[in-house]
Symmetry: C2
Subunit: 226 residues, 2 copies
DNA sequence: CAAATGCTTCGGCCTGCACCAAACCATCCC
DNA sequence: GGGATGGTTTGGTGCAGGCCGAAGCATTTG
């Protein structure tokens, strides 16, 4: 009757509206405090506290006490990708009442999916690399070609430390607002940090939103032409 | 508050023990009848009927009426991989009381993960191909090398139609009983059907179990040496 | 020290939902 | 046709779990 891993436990945990809202908020990759999460989920602090304790105990969340604040974040990329998988499924089986993406138009354009670019900016990066032959697109398996390596290096991103990581260099991630593929994996994360480090764009504190500066936008566009 | 796809709905659906058991049973890829699923979940027929209706309405299940039987199957590979993602997460965050794999020893050895080999047989295939250089293992991205193509063709599997599919040829799938990688994707499925077609092994009706014949086992082992 | 802030624990209310038994359709077989 | 088998619908019961207010700790600030 109950063979295998306890998929029920985890799914039930995610299956509560309040908890799902918190987890979705944490998909931004930022660590949020308990009260921020309570506000995000539209519940009172005591209720939130209970939920967070359960999520932590199940190993989905990671908690750091700092002064009188408790910061929470997703426990790992594994958790994030399981959530994205569910979101993708929900979007594809999408019910009538399901909104197709973020209500905020700015969020549709450039935002963060865990730790890499999503939204139309994320899709643009992927398309640009794919059409120019920098990636061999084979659905899920998308190794970087030599030409691609050269191009990334030219942007000023050092590939060596990325390759050394256990994390896959390139991973395809399906976006639910655009319903198209964008670039995840170590390289996706590196491009995002490159964009913020070089002043192309800034991340809005406490949100998944990314805003491009005027100059940054044009540099971004020339770096990833379509 | 509720932006994005309705992840809650789907997760809550999976988060019920009875429904989770049914879905897990269907991960075998076989279509099962309503009463078989009721038995599998340990509930009465009326209760099962209600659950199945919900799952179908949410687009997770696919129903085919045939005579007086109603056959159910997972609605697509998307659903299957979301389930496997959850199972993987559950296994890694594995709780004390979670059994690490199927109670049935035979099931640990050779069984089906949606439509390809899993268990130790599945792991063996993957290891054999990987160590001989037939696959370039790069975590998730695992393209087949020319040497690998040759070797698969020698087994009597025609690669051309597989490459034509939209489905990725090779995909790495993490197994929860072995906690190791095995081969999914179109090639994984092709190897499984090759094994049954050539009489190496037979699938037990209504189960995820695969039994090798004596002769089949030795042929399998020589085809995939370690 | 007292006051304020952030979070957790406790106790009690209440809704939602899984569950079954009995009755009701549909299909096949004799 | 009647009887058997497989599924679904309906009605009613009961429990799990989400929710909040009030009270209790911990930490920082004045």
């Amino acid at each position: 009757m109950k063979e295998g891993p306890d998929i029920t436990r985890i799914a039930a945990l995610i299956g509560d509206p309040a908890r799902a809202n918190m987890l979705t908020a944490l998909l931004s990759g930022k660590a949020l405090t308990a009260s921020e999460l309570a506000h995000e989920a539209g519940i009172t602090a005591p209720t939130a506290s209970g939920h967070l304790a359960k999520l932590e105990e199940a190993g989905l969340l990671w908690r750091r006490k700092q002064g009188r604040h408790h910061y929470f974040a997703l426990a790992g990329t594994e958790v994030a990708s399981a959530l994205e998988a569910l979101a993708g499924l929900a979007a594809s089986k999408g019910h009538l009442r399901t909104r197709t993406g973020p209500r905020d138009l700015a969020l549709r354009e450039a935002r963060v999916c865990y730790d890499h670019f999503a939204g139309s900016a994320g899709v643009r990066i992927f398309e640009s690399l794919a059409t120019s032959g920098a990636l061999t697109v084979d659905r899920e398996a998308i190794p970087l070609t030599p030409a691609g390596e050269e191009r990334i290096t030219a942007l000023g991103i050092d590939l060596a430390p990325l390759k050394a990581k256990r994390r896959p260099l390139c991973r395809a991630c399906l976006d639910w607002s655009e319903r198209r593929t964008h670039l995840a994996g170590a390289l996706g994360a590196a491009i995002l940090s490159h964009a913020t480090a070089s002043g192309w764009a800034t991340r809005t504190k406490g949100s998944r939103l990314i805003t491009f500066s005027k100059k940054g936008a044009s540099e971004f566009e020339s770096a990833f032409p379509i």
